[in-house]
């Protein structure tokens, strides 16, 4: 069953016009992209910075209008719906934004942020409160934080709050736009594990966007590679990782692989007051 299908989506930004208003310079942010996301088959979208990933995600969310193309959500063509007609369908598809410092209104408490996401639900106040707690626990936060403000949290915690908010509406599909890219590797790992866990519990499908293949391959059984506004390769994870076909994918894979080091680290370890040892040549560790 297809949750979301994008057909021939195109979005060009005109960044400069001449004196008659004719386009002088056009950025082809998304150039004829088609994608399908099946239920419980999360799709990862990988691509370098500026290749149009965020633009594509926003088009899928109907936050910006594509120049051409169709968006099919749960079998229904939503590309021509107005914002008002779109409102009841919104809860099916949610998004976690790229910048955790920008995606939560600094003037809202966590309770208000979550409450806003459940505005269209018919739950009573007490039921909502119960749901807030459940959500916060699910994303690994304490339910006591409901009265606090976003600035009191670290980036990783904010991203968890944003994930809780996206899940609050009980969506079928969650678009995660670089959801872990701004986090350090260990926190990234935690959040990814949490996302896998949430996928089981809430039965959601992810459309996971990242420039980091290592992150994507952990979460998504299907991977699409985007390059300069186009999808250049898509396949199941194993196939893509083992037999990359497109030169850009090969490039990406080799860049994501191990680093080669041909120099030794120089460190005057004998004179340090700490107890350093040299495990192999040019490799130091504190005991």
């Amino acid at each position: 069953m297809t949750v979301l299908a994008l057909k021939n989506i195109k979005k060009h930004f005109v960044t400069a016009t001449d004196w008659r208003g004719r386009p002088q310079h056009v950025v082809r942010a998304v150039d004829d992209v088609s994608l399908q996301i099946a239920h419980k088959e999360s799709l990862g979208l990988v691509g370098e910075s500026g290749c149009g990933k965020t633009t594509l995600a926003r088009i899928a969310m109907k936050l910006i209008a594509p120049d051409t193309g169709e968006i099919i959500l749960g079998g229904k063509n939503i590309s021509l719906l107005s914002q008002t007609q779109m409102r009841p369908l919104r809860r099916k598809i949610q998004m976690v934004f790229q910048d955790p410092f920008n995606s939560l209104d600094p003037r809202f408490t966590i309770r208000r942020i979550l409450n806003e996401a459940m505005l269209l639900s018919s739950l009573s106040t007490a039921e909502k409160e119960g749901r807030f707690r459940e959500l916060l626990l699910a994303v690994g936060l304490s339910p006591d934080i409901l009265h606090r403000f976003p600035y009191e949290f670290s980036g990783g915690e904010r991203q968890r709050i944003a994930i809780a908010r996206a899940l609050a509406a009980d969506p079928q599909l969650v678009i995660l736009d670089e959801a872990v890219s701004s986090l350090d590797v260990l926190v990234q790992e935690q959040v990814l594990n949490m996302l896998l866990d949430l996928q089981q519990r809430f039965g959601v499908t992810y459309f996971f966007i990242s420039h980091n293949l290592n992150v994507i391959k952990k979460l998504c059984p299907q991977i699409a590679v985007m390059y300069q506004g186009r999808i250049v390769e898509q396949a199941y994870r194993e196939s893509l990782l083992n037999q990359p076909q497109h030169p850009y994918t090969k490039n990406l894979l080799s860049a994501a692989m191990s680093y080669r080091c041909d120099r030794d680290f120089v460190f005057d370890w004998a004179s340090s007051k700490m107890r350093w040892t040299q495990k192999t040549k040019g490799h130091f560790v504190l005991e």
Binding site: Q83, R91, E116, S142, E152, F153
Partner: protein
């Protein structure tokens, strides 16, 4: 989780900066006092605004005596006043030492409704009739200037506040919508704004006043002035708010709100306008003086509040002739109050600017 670290929010931090500015705090207190006197004008002043006695026309400020004839300390009192005419038939007021009137606390006088509800007829201080107390002198019709300045404060000070409130609601709404929707909505709304901003405010004010019938009662005139000022004032605010709104709508939390299916009005009201708050507060403070001066100017020209009602502007209209200024300089006092209020609002506004948002940028 960093439990102990609780950074000050912007307003708390702003407060700390503000109170360090002694001068601004002083001005804020002065403003507070002025508004308090305006609210309690009927109680604080010895007479009603229209209590007149022609035999006190242009009576100079009376001297309050603290010592009796023997030089001993006594309750404060004033002497009765009598007048004679000089060679050009102008009145010369003299103290009549035969009769003194003690200044009393809470004497009975003109009746009024305290705070608009409680009927009462006692005033904070005054003298018993037939004596009259004119601490700051009297005007041409023998009305107490002290009382009339207090009563006038009601009109002059409230016009600023109410006018600003209305034009700010308008400005925020129009600016917020123009910036948020962009495109054609923005174009139309901004062209309308520019039409208002193009016309010099004072002429627009005169033209609008002229467009209404000349014989309105005072309350209607009061409302009319407020409406005229709001009409002129909203445009410049709308433009600035529009700019902020345009940059705020790109924030991801606004997109998130949209993705959750919130209505546009709700997004503007909860995610856009609150972030323009500190700018708005500063702009409010700095634009109130304009309203007060505008009212004064209209009333001074006789187009605003009409006699017998008092506003600082129409009190000054008595001071338009050089002769009256020479002979009765005390009728310039309302001008001092206008000056004081305007200065205070400006100082407080500037201090708020420093405190809330030094760069006047959109809030984070």
């Amino acid at each position: 989780m960093n439990k102990d670290k609780k950074p000050l929010n912007q307003f708390q931090a702003g407060y700390a900066v503000f109170v360090r500015n002694r001068w601004a705090v002083f001005c804020l207190i002065v403003l507070g006092l002025l508004y308090t006197t305006a609210i309690f004008a009927d109680f604080l002043s010895p007479y009603r605004y229209d209590n007149e006695d022609r035999s006190y026309s242009f009576c100079p400020p009376m001297k309050v005596h603290w010592k009796n004839e023997q030089g001993a300390l006594s309750r404060p009192y004033v002497y009765a006043t009598s007048f004679s005419f000089n060679e050009v038939h102008r009145r010369i007021y003299l103290e009549d030492k035969a009769q003194k009137f003690f200044i009393r606390l809470l004497p009975k006088g003109d009746s009024y409704r305290l705070l608009g509800v409680i009927p009462w007829d006692r005033h904070l201080f005054g003298v018993d009739s037939p004596g009259r107390l004119h601490l700051w002198g009297a005007d041409s019709r023998g009305r107490d200037l002290f009382s009339r300045i207090f009563w006038g404060a009601r009109i002059s000070l409230s016009i600023g506040i109410i006018g600003v409130a209305i034009s700010f609601v308008l400005g925020l709404l129009v600016g917020g919508m123009a910036g948020y929707y962009g495109g054609r909505v923005d174009n139309v709304l901004m062209r309308i704004c520019e039409m208002f901003m193009m016309v010099p405010g004072f002429y627009l004010m005169l033209a609008l006043r002229a467009a209404f019938p000349p014989h309105l009662n005072s309350f209607q005139v009061y409302l009319l002035i407020i409406v005229i000022f709001s009409f002129i004032g909203w445009a410049s605010l709308a433009r600035v708010i529009r700019g902020m709104s345009m940059s705020l709508k790109e924030r991801e939390y606004v997109l998130a709100a949209k993705a959750m299916g919130l209505s546009d009005i709700r997004i503007i009201a909860t995610h856009i306008l609150p972030h323009t708050m500190s700018y708005s507060i500063i702009a409010i403070m700095l634009s109130i003086p304009g309203y007060i001066m505008g009212e004064s100017a209209l009333s001074l020209l006789g187009l605003g509040i009409q006699d017998p009602y008092a506003s600082w502007g129409n009190l000054l209209s008595e001071a338009m002739g050089i002769v009256s200024i020479q002979l009765a300089p005390w009728i310039l006092l309302p001008g001092f109050f206008i000056f004081l209020t305007v200065i205070c609002f400006n100082v407080v506004g500037d201090a708020l600017r420093d405190a809330l948002d030094p760069t006047l940028k959109v809030e984070g």
